[in-house]
Amino acid sequence: MVELAKDFRTLLRVAWLTEMEYRANFLISIVGALAYNASQLLFISVLLHAFGGVAGWTGPQVFVLFGIRMASHSVCAFFFRRMTDLDTVVHTGEFDRYLLRPVSLFLQLLMRRFNLQQFGDVVIAAAVLGFALPRAAIDWTPAKALWLVAAVAAGGMLEAGLQLVRGALSFRWTNTESMTGLIETVFGTFGNFPLQVFGGVGAVFFTLVLPLAFVGWIPAAMLLGRQDSLWFPGWLGWWSPLVGVGCFALAIVFFGRQSRHYASPGS
């Protein structure tokens, strides 16, 4: 673990030095990441402007949900963005090199590059949470604050886990671009809504089948005292971060298994 932290720090430094070679490009990239996420924020804002609230949740409550979802996404983007590169790694035969090195395949994928563009995601998540949390009536305790940090981290791991599973399928399917888009769209667009908006069946689907609930809806409901919106007993929600951690661990195992189906393009 210490070695991993050291490697990550080195990678961060290399990325920083690389980006500083092209400063204008770096700044434009951050603005780009901000714009990408801001469009979702505008979407929610316009909807709340026109309709006042969504599925019984007030504007500030929906913004808290949006902020938590964004924060989870920025954890995923900051630490695990490389999960989305697997198609390329398989297509180009870069994976050949991974197989020759005495280091975990997963870690090699994780460390292949570090793109500082992700700062844009972090900035917008912090700004939205900074705006929304003080405006929502939350009864703060230290335990609740710590739980929120854990829930955000676990949400990021969940999204990363899904992207890793999707990427692992490229060992068999070669092209999984549509699935990347599907995960990004579902998380980026529909993850910002209180999921009771999709009705009972939809809420169950997004909890048990496509676990979108764990990156925004459940943490926000617990924090805001809106357990009445959940379809399961409210106390279970406090355990929800375990789902993200569990999914991520399973995804790493799945990735390892699927990598056995790799066929080198021979380049």
């Binding site: 316009v46 092209n175 999984t176 599907l182 769209t185």
Partner: protein, 278 residues
């Protein structure tokens, strides 16, 4: 008449059409070659259709009309907006930046069809490749009762004409932004800004009917509203810019601007390109 006996002018046209058709087929093949990807794409569109219909019905629950727009119209708009987005609006990174970075753009430059022409023709092919997803969205939207048909034939015709022109504007602008790759090492930043502005201002994310009064005129003055919002207004028998004629006129105007800018940018870009390696 044999090919050899054909007059040179006719043969020239024949060859040009043949090359263009080859590029369109290449674009379609790129979109359809990975069958699992096509199936997932259809499932993705199906899921998004169901979710959009559900969300819009839910936000309208208990309300008949918001900002003068009924729930049925908002749901139909969402389904059709998804169709246009899937079929026609290339707000995604084109392969051009990747080809510039890898140097394979050298092959594109020596082809008998210009780089701009190749990209446009391949975009037509990509739109053809998106048809399975379009059919899925329309079918599912209709099955869910989330699709209202145009009131008149002229409304349907106006929609189809302006949606096609809107697609052309979007494709040209997309190509122009992709050409940033000739000057910078990473095109994602500019492209994300472009995509965020385009998707929001076009009405693809949320109809411009719901925009605050201070914002809507600005958005309607940009070319993006002519790609999604204006064609869909015609579908719903609204008369933006005085009707079909006004929309087409505005679109042709923007097309001329976009074509000139694209020609200028590509002219400069092809004099900047440096091919490394080989």
């Amino acid at each position: 008449m044999t090919a050899g006996a054909r007059p040179s002018g006719a043969r020239g046209v024949h060859d040009t059409v043949g090359r263009a058709w080859a590029m369109v087929r290449l674009g379609a093949a790129n979109a359809l070659v990975f069958r699992a990807n096509v199936v997932v794409s259809m499932l993705s569109v199906a899921l998004q259709t169901v979710l959009l219909v559900t969300v819009w019905r839910a936000v309208y629950s208990g309300r008949h009309s918001v900002a003068g727009v009924t729930g049925d119209r908002a749901v139909s708009y969402a389904v059709l907006g998804l169709v246009l987005g899937h079929l026609a609006l290339p707000w995604r990174l084109s392969s051009l930046p990747e080809r510039v970075r890898e140097g394979t753009v050298a092959t594109d430059i020596i082809r008998p069809v210009g780089v701009v022409g190749q990209s446009l023709l391949q975009s037509i092919g990509a739109a053809v490749g998106a048809l399975p997803g379009v059919a899925t969205a329309l079918l599912l939207g209709a099955l869910l009762g989330g699709l209202t048909m145009p009131a008149t034939v002229s409304a349907a015709f106006g929609f189809m004409l302006t949606a096609a022109l809107g697609w052309l504007i979007a494709t040209l602008l997309n190509l122009m932004v992709s050409m940033v790759a000739f000057w910078t090492t990473d095109t994602r930043g500019p492209f994300y800004v472009y995509r965020a502005v385009a998707s929001f201002a076009s009405g693809a994310l949320v109809p411009l009917w719901f925009m605050p009064d201070w914002l809507r005129p600005t958005l309607e003055a940009l070319p993006f509203a002519l790609q999604v919002f204006a064609p869909l207004q015609l579908w719903f028998s609204e008369q933006p810019l005085g009707g079909v004629g006004g929309v087409v006129l505005a679109q042709v105007g923007w097309l001329v601007v976009a074509a000139l800018l694209t020609a200028l940018v590509s002219w400069r870009a092809l004099r900047t390109v440096v091919i490394n390696g080989g």
